[in-house]
């Protein structure tokens, strides 16, 4: 993955930049020791690494504003960072950039159960937002797999999803307001505890802008009352096509499960070997979860099971207890861990129209043969968000490159059938150079022109999202 050549002139004045930063915010909030900055050299896309010029960890929005105003005036690029769990390289630094981390901004600022929102600093982790309200029976709905570690700042930057977004939506559907600092160091409030804007929907634009339009330091998030109960059912099928048809029929029947998860045989086998969840050895497996009171759960599961039976399932297992529910989820939740145990892997994130599922799985199988790399598929089937895991050996020369080429082919396939490159992980650097397969020149030009409005000097996370050759004239200006 190509990154811009660091600006030698900035590298040469590192000492002055660090000294200035230390004057602007608390001394212990600036990290410049090359040994310590190494901890920030990558995010969860670990194949790419580069220590930054310096790292700042401000303790307030005002400090963030001072750092950004300074970097803007000095022409120093800034890479915002939440918890560093991006799978797309969204927080990958360049050698001439300052990492601006929100890790010390973790406070809950306000909880309001009557108005059903919580206001937090954005360094707070996703799971601990729910943690702050669950005693009162509430939760924050978006639940990315990394929710134990990932920060709300990163969730907003990438518009993160999760397993339950079929029913509850993704981050943007649960975000009410932000406090944001512009690259010029101006603090702005967008939205609030009320719904929807009067003028342009700037909040909708900020969410998912990958830290390129501003640094969000506080967020007002919608919270919901927890459902009375939830229960999964596990179904095994003889082919991916049949499982795909079953998903479509469930949705058409008017049932809206809270989650529909799909695993193919390679994934089922790996998960079973790892987690021993008692999964059947079948071609395709669905986990469908519904919510509500006992009677409501029964009502929905009866409909789902009746539909599943029309597709001749080889296995149909309805959970009868909390333990059985946990067992059904155990394999799925450990899917990535199970893969990591047997191999290095690359996790893709393309979304496809649900109707294209059988075709896409078949063609992924063909690509797997062609490139000689195994693929396991696990994904959110209700919304078409695929997560093919391509297995490779990082110690084998050339294997990563082969894997990346194959990954690119799969993502192009997702676009070809009417889908997109990324459903919830973001573009970052990982999908940056594929953007031209999904977008024509005017589509990208208008997006870059939007960045011009917020960050005219292209200093905020500049080497992400847009192919380098497409953004070059702006970055070099």
């Amino acid at each position: 993955m190509e990154m811009p050549v660091p600006d030698k002139e900035i590298l040469a004045r590192k000492d002055r930049v660090v000294r200035d930063l230390r004057r602007l915010i608390a001394d212990d909030s600036v990290i410049s020791d090359p040994f310590e900055t190494r901890a920030y050299e990558c995010d969860a896309l670990t194949a790419y690494r580069c220590p930054p010029l310096a790292v700042v960890l401000p303790r307030s929005t005002a400090e963030v504003a001072r750092v950004l105003a300074y970097c803007n005036a000095e022409g120093v690029p800034v890479v915002p960072r939440g918890s560093g769990t991006s799978l797309a390289g969204g927080a990958l630094p360049t050698a001439d950039s300052v990492i601006l981390g929100v890790a010390r901004l973790t406070e809950v600022l306000e909880t309001d159960f009557d108005n059903r929102f919580i206001r937090v600093q954005t360094g707070r982790t996703n799971l601990s937002v729910t943690g702050a309200v669950e005693a009162e029976g509430y939760f924050y709905a978006p639940d990315p797999s990394s929710q134990l570690a990932c920060a709300i700042a990163g969730n907003i930057a990438m518009n993160s999803g999760g397993a339950h977004c079929l029913k509850y939506g993704v981050t943007t559907n649960n975000l009410l307001g932000v406090t944001m600092v512009t690259m010029e160091g101006e603090i702005v409030e967008i939205g609030g505890a009320h719904l929807d804007p009067s003028g342009y929907d700037l909040l909708g634009l900020i969410c998912g802008s990958e830290g390129q339009l501003g640094v969000v330091t506080e967020a007002t998030l919608r919270i919901l009352r927890k459902p009375e109960g939830a229960r999964p059912v596990l179904m095994g099928f003889t082919s991916n096509e049949v499982a795909g048809a079953c998903v479509s029929d469930i949705i058409k029947a008017g049932v809206l499960p809270v989650a529909i998860e799909f695993m193919d045989r390679p994934c089922i086998r790996a998960c079973e070997a790892f987690a021993k969840a008692g999964y059947p050895d079948v071609e395709a497996l669905l986990i469908v979860e519904v919510e509500g009171s006992e009677a409501e759960i029964r009502e929905q599961l009866e409909k789902i099971i009746a539909i599943a039976r029309t597709h001749n399932p080889v296995e149909l297992r309805e959970s009868a207890s909390a333990e059985e529910s946990a067992a059904i989820w155990k394999g799925r939740k450990s899917a990535f861990g199970a893969m990591g145990k047997i191999n290095d892997y690359m996790c893709l994130d393309g979304t496809i129209p649900v109707s294209a599922l059988p075709e896409v799985l078949r063609r992924i199988g063909e690509l797997s043969t062609e490139y000689g790399l195994e693929v396991a598929n696990v994904f959110h089937a209700g919304d078409g968000n695929m997560h093919p895991l391509i297995l490779f050996d990082a110690n084998k020369p050339g294997d990563l490159e082969t894997c990346e080429r194959m990954g690119a082919e799969i993502l192009k396939l997702c676009v070809e059938v009417g889908g997109c490159l990324t459903g919830e992980h973001g573009v970052g650097i990982e999908k940056r150079d594929l953007m031209t397969t999904q977008f024509d020149a005017p589509d990208l030009e208008i997006q870059m022109a939007v960045k011009d409005v917020f960050d005219p000097n292209w200093l905020l996370n500049p080497a992400k999202v847009f192919p380098l050759h497409v953004s070059a004239s702006r970055r070099d200006a």
Partner: protein, 384 residues
């Protein structure tokens, strides 16, 4: 002008841009009256009509912007599905005829009572195609419901009232239509009691999809649940228990009557039939009663659990001044042109955000030819 295709429309806009001709974009014309003006040559989107893709199993529909909303709703109904956000029909409010288009719904960001549960228009909108003010054709989003590829201009376009681009095609995530619905009502509550009752209902795990208070001498406070028969019966019963603490409760289970009630709430029917300025105010729900009190209790509808106050104060009332100190915003939905000019239709933004909004407008429509003046601030002269 009524272009027959997106390409024709793009050419027409490019020509208008080169000549500096203002364009007034029109779908069904049912929302003429929302915003200032209008000025300019009418550009009609009715030529861009038709559903190009509908996959019930993928909960996705794609249609030309000029497609009548009624066509979309009929196609969805045939598969027992619907648009989740319950778009308001503005014909009562603006005393207009014609047929609302799906592009107009998006341009206005029109959402109804179900917004509190199913999200706003922008939350269901998953893709757009548009023609910018320079005549460039641009797409954003797509036809899949999870998509974070590039910036989300889809949300920016929803509710931009045609000032950032002329929307030519829209894609929506849709939802199953419910098998049953029920309305649980209380009578005679004042605003504070009513919002207390609605808050109790919305704070329960029963997926309330409508929560409104209609104040007045015969005040009605109502919540709606929708879903499968058994589930609706169960939740209506639970909500009856909860709301019972606020007074005697009635439950309506007749589908037509439930639908009719919420249609009138959605379209602000009773309120809009009366004369006078109409404002739409979004605040945190617990501030709803303060809004009504600050304006001395004129006719109002308090939707979204109290958070959306549609209100008809005495003509010429400076509502924003009366509400200063209450966080949120106020939009002047309906008034004489002079009143709109005096206050501005949309809530004025603080300077840094106003600069960003103006920058975006300048990016999408550098010549300022698309619906010029429609979103102009207080006092601005928008004469053509």
């Amino acid at each position: 002008m009524t272009p027959a295709s997106e390409a024709e429309l793009a050419e027409a806009v490019a020509t208008a841009a080169s000549r500096g001709t203002a364009l007034r974009i029109r779908g069904g014309g049912t929302r003429a009256g929302l915003g200032r003006g209008p000025v300019g040559e009418v550009l009609q989107t009715s030529g861009l009509s038709g559903i190009s893709l509908y996959e019930p199993g993928a909960l996705t529909i794609v249609a030309g912007a000029g497609t009548p909303l009624s066509d979309i709703q009929a196609a969805l109904l045939a598969e027992n599905q619907r648009l989740p956000f319950e778009p308001m029909d503005h014909r009562v409010l603006y005393r207009t005829n014609g047929s609302p288009t799906i592009g107009g719904v998006v341009a206005a960001g029109a959402s109804g009572p179900r917004r509190i549960q199913a999200g706003a228009c922008r939350d269901s909108l998953i893709g757009v195609r548009l023609v910018t003010g320079t005549g460039e054709v641009v797409k954003n989003g797509g036809r899949v419901m999870k998509n974070v590829t590039g910036y989300d201009l889809v949300k920016l376009l929803a509710g931009s009232h045609g000032t950032l681009g002329i929307i030519t095609e829209v894609a929506f995530k849709v939802l199953p239509a419910p098998e049953a619905a029920a309305t649980v009502t209380l009578s005679g509550l004042d605003e504070v009691q009513a919002v207390g009752a609605l808050t109790a209902a919305l704070g329960a795990p029963y997926e309330v999809s409508g929560a409104v208070h209609l104040p007045g001498d015969e005040a009605v406070t109502a919540v709606r649940v929708e879903g499968f028969e058994g589930s609706v019966a169960y939740r209506a019963e639970r909500l009856t228990d909860i709301l019972g603490a606020f007074g005697p409760v009635a439950v309506e289970r007749d589908a037509d009557r439930v639908a009719h009630f919420w249609e009138r709430v959605r379209d602000l029917s009773a309120l809009a039939e009366g004369e006078g300025d109409m404002w739409r105010i979004s605040v945190r729900p617990s501030d709803g009663p303060r809004v009504v009190a600050a304006l001395s209790h004129p006719p109002a509808v308090m939707d979204w659990g109290g958070g959306l106050v549609s209100i008809r104060p005495a003509a010429g009332t400076d509502v924003r001044a009366a509400l200063s100190g209450i966080p949120g915003h106020a939009t002047l939905l309906r008034a004489e042109e002079a009143t709109k000019a005096r206050f501005g239709v949309f809530e004025p933004e603080p300077a840094p955000l106003a600069r960003i909004s103006a920058g975006l407008r300048g990016t999408f429509d550098p010549k300022g030819i698309l619906n010029p003046g429609l979103m102009a601030g207080p006092g601005a002269d928008i004469a053509a």
